[in-house]
C-alpha cells in the first residue's frame, strides 16, 4: 500500500469516529454502503450471533432507526446526551488495490455522562469499499474488551 493511500484510509476512519463524537449522525450514515453490517459481538471475541447473541448486529435500516431514537426528544438515555471521544491507535491496513480495503484499529471510547467517565477499550475492524470514487464502510465490527462483563448503556461505537 502506498503512503498516500495509507494516509487516506487513516484519515477516513479518524473522520468517521469524529462524526460520531460530534453527533453528526446523518453525515455518519452517508459513509455507509447500502449493504453495511454493523456488528458488536457479545460475550467473546467474534462471538457467533446464533450461539451467544450480540450487542448489536444490524444493517442500514436498523442504524437509521437507532439514530432516529437517539435524536428523539423523549429518549431517556439521551437525558442528558453522552459526550464521547474515540481514540484510535495501532492502525493496520491492507488493500487489494481493486477498490476494497480492510482497516483494523484499537479503540478507546470515553463516555462522559451523569457525573461519570466510562472507558470502553476494544478493537474495531472495518471493511471498506470504493463507491463512486469514495471510501464507504461495508462492515464495522467492534470487539469490546469487556463484552463478557456487564455493560451499561452504550452510545454508537
Amino acid at each position: 500500500m502506498n503512503p498516500t493511500q495509507s494516509t487516506e484510509l487513516e484519515q477516513f476512519i479518524y473522520k468517521e469516529t469524529d462524526l460520531l463524537d460530534d453527533r453528526r449522525f446523518e453525515d455518519w450514515l452517508k459513509l455507509l454502503t447500502d449493504d453495511v453490517i454493523y456488528w458488536v459481538p457479545n460475550y467473546q471475541q467474534d462471538g457467533d450471533p446464533g450461539e451467544v447473541g450480540v450487542i448489536v448486529y444490524e444493517g442500514l435500516s436498523g442504524l437509521r432507526a437507532r439514530i432516529a431514537r437517539t435524536l428523539h426528544e423523549l429518549n431517556p438515555v439521551q437525558k442528558p446526551p453522552p459526550r464521547t471521544r474515540h481514540f484510535l491507535t495501532n492502525i493496520i491496513m491492507s488493500s487489494d488495490g481493486n477498490g476494497t480495503a480492510e482497516v483494523s484499529t484499537n479503540v478507546l471510547l470515553c463516555v462522559s455522562r451523569e457525573k461519570r467517565l466510562m472507558q470502553y477499550p476494544g478493537k474495531a475492524e472495518y471493511k471498506l469499499r470504493k463507491v463512486d470514487g469514495n471510501w464507504r464502510i461495508s462492515q464495522k465490527k467492534i470487539n469490546l474488551l469487556s463484552n463478557d462483563l456487564p455493560l451499561s448503556q452504550l452510545p454508537l461505537l
Binding site: V40, N42, Y43, Q44, G47, P49, G50, E51, V52, G53, V54, I55, V56, Y57, E58, G59, S61, G62, R64, A65, R66, A68, R69, H72, E73, L74, N75, P76, V77, K79, E114, D148, L149, P150, L151, S152, Q153, L154, L156, L157
Partner: protein, 421 residues
C-alpha cells in the same frame, strides 16, 4: 420505627406503599441477602448449559462461587467452587468440560460428582480421612423443573414444586414452542444498572410505564421497525386493553399481552418447516395460540421470562444501589436455525447495552435510586389497581389492565420472608 427486630422490615412494605428504605438502606439489602436470597429458591441456571457428562458452568450465588456440573453419573449438581484444603477456587473457566477439578494451589483433585479423589502427599496428612466428607461442598438443595435449575441455601423448607405452584405451567409454556419440547440457553448478555434489584423485578411487572418511558422507542420502533424488518415485522393486533395479569404462589406473577404487541420485533416464526413441526405436535389451533403467545413471566425473586423473544433474565443483586442482569437468549430445540437466529437477534436488540428498549428502563432505575435519596419522599406509591379482580379456575389472582397489583403481591412475599427470624 425500629428495623432491628424482625417485624421492623416487614413494616416497610405496606399494602399499597413501600418505604424508600427498601430501595436505599444497605441494612435492608443485607437482610434481603440473608432472609430472601439465602433461603428461598433461587434460579441458578439451565441444564442445557451443561448438556454432556463433565460439562460445567461457573457462577455465583450472592458472593459465593459455585460450579454447576453434570457429573459422570449424568446428574446435574451445584457445588461450591472452593477447595476443601485451604479454600482456593478449583474451577476457573466460565464454561467447559472436564473429568477432574484440580486445585492449582496444592493439587487436590475432585471428580465431576464432587468427590475428593486425589490429595498430594496424602500419606503425610495427619488425623485426616479424605473419604470423610471432604468432597466439594454441595449447595444444600438443588432441584430442576423442565431444565430450569433452582437452588436453596436453606437445608429445609418448601420443595421447588411447592414454591413454584402454578409456575410449573408457565415454565412449560417456555418450552412448548420448541418442536422437541425443550429450550437451550445461549450465553448471557450482561448489563447492570445503578439501582436496587427490585426495580427490575417491579418494572417487568408494570405495564403502566411502557407507553411513557419507551415512547421514543415505540414511536421510532413502529415506524422504523417496519422498514428494518419489512414484511417480517409482527403486526400489532390490538391495544393494551386486552391485557391480563395474574399472581400466584410465592410472589410470582405474569402479564399476558394476548398477542397484542409485536411491531417492535421481527417475526421469528415464518419458516414453513417449523410451523409444520409445531402444528404436527400440537394441532393447528394450539400451534397458533403458542405462536401468538406473548407473556412476561416472573418467578420471585430473580427469574424473568419473555416468551415472544424466548429469553430469560436473571437478576443478580450486587449492592443496595447496584444490580446486574444476565439475559440468556434461548433456542427452541428442534427448530430450524433461522428461527433461533431471529430469536437471538430479537432478544439482543431488545435488552443489550445498545438495545432498543431495556436501556430506557436501566436509565429510569438510576433516576429512581437517585430520587429516593430524598428522605422527605418517604413512601413510594403502589396504588394502581386492576379491573375485575377475581380468583381464576387455577387459583390465581387475576384481573385485567395495567396495574401495580403484582408489585404489591411481591411485597407481601417480601414482608413474609423478611419477617422470618
Amino acid at each position: 420505627m425500629s428495623t432491628n427486630g424482625s417485624n421492623g422490615y416487614a413494616q416497610l412494605a405496606q399494602d399499597d406503599r413501600v418505604h424508600r428504605r427498601v430501595y436505599t438502606d444497605p441494612a435492608v439489602f443485607d437482610a434481603e441477602m440473608a432472609r430472601i436470597f439465602s433461603r428461598t429458591w433461587i434460579f441458578i441456571g439451565h441444564e442445557s448449559e451443561v448438556p454432556k457428562p463433565g460439562d460445567f458452568k461457573t457462577d455465583t450465588i450472592g458472593k459465593r462461587p459455585i460450579i454447576i456440573v453434570r457429573g459422570k453419573d449424568n446428574r446435574v449438581r451445584a457445588l461450591y467452587n472452593v477447595c476443601r484444603h485451604r479454600g482456593a477456587k478449583v474451577c476457573y473457566e466460565n464454561y467447559g468440560s472436564t473429568n477432574t477439578f484440580r486445585c492449582l494451589y496444592h493439587g487436590w483433585t475432585y471428580d465431576t460428582t464432587g468427590k475428593l479423589d486425589g490429595v498430594t502427599l496424602r500419606e503425610r496428612f495427619q488425623n485426616f480421612n479424605p473419604d470423610d466428607g471432604f468432597g466439594l461442598l454441595p449447595v444444600p438443595r438443588v432441584e430442576s423443573y423442565r431444565g430450569f435449575i433452582f437452588a436453596s441455601l436453606a437445608k429445609e423448607g418448601a420443595t421447588l414444586k411447592q414454591h413454584l405452584g402454578r409456575g410449573t405451567h408457565y415454565l412449560d409454556l417456555m418450552c412448548e414452542r420448541a418442536p422437541d419440547g425443550e429450550i437451550e440457553a445461549g450465553r448471557p448478555i450482561k448489563y447492570d444498572f445503578r439501582g436496587n434489584w427490585k426495580l427490575q423485578f417491579e418494572n417487568y411487572s408494570d405495564n403502566y410505564h411502557p407507553a411513557v418511558l419507551h415512547q421514543s422507542a415505540l414511536e421510532v420502533g413502529i415506524r422504523m421497525m417496519r422498514e428494518k424488518y419489512g414484511d417480517r415485522v409482527f403486526n400489532m393486533k390490538s391495544s393494551v386493553s386486552q391485557y391480563i395479569e395474574r399472581t400466584y404462589a410465592a410472589g410470582h406473577g405474569m402479564g399476558d399481552f394476548c398477542g397484542g404487541r409485536g411491531a417492535m420485533w421481527m417475526n421469528a416464526y415464518t419458516n414453513p418447516d417449523y410451523l409444520k413441526a409445531l402444528a404436527g405436535k400440537h394441532g393447528d389451533n394450539r400451534a397458533k395460540e403458542l405462536l401468538d403467545m406473548d407473556l412476561h413471566m416472573m418467578i420471585y425473586p430473580n427469574l424473568l421470562m419473555h416468551t415472544r423473544m424466548n429469553h430469560y433474565r436473571v437478576i443478580k443483586p450486587i449492592a443496595v444501589d447496584h444490580t446486574e442482569i444476565w439475559a440468556y437468549p434461548c433456542k427452541l430445540k428442534g427448530a430450524p436455525k433461522d428461527v433461533n437466529d431471529t430469536l437471538f437477534l430479537n432478544t439482543s436488540h431488545h435488552v443489550s447495552a445498545m438495545g432498543e428498549v431495556q436501556v430506557d428502563d436501566l436509565q429510569c432505575f438510576a433516576w429512581v435510586q437517585e430520587g429516593l435519596q430524598v428522605e422527605d419522599m418517604e413512601w413510594v406509591l403502589l396504588k394502581l389497581g386492576g379491573e375485575n379482580p377475581h380468583l381464576n379456575e387455577h387459583g390465581e389472582n387475576e384481573w385485567t389492565g395495567a396495574s401495580e397489583e403484582m408489585i404489591r403481591y411481591q411485597y407481601r412475599e417480601w414482608a413474609k420472608l423478611m419477617a422470618a427470624a
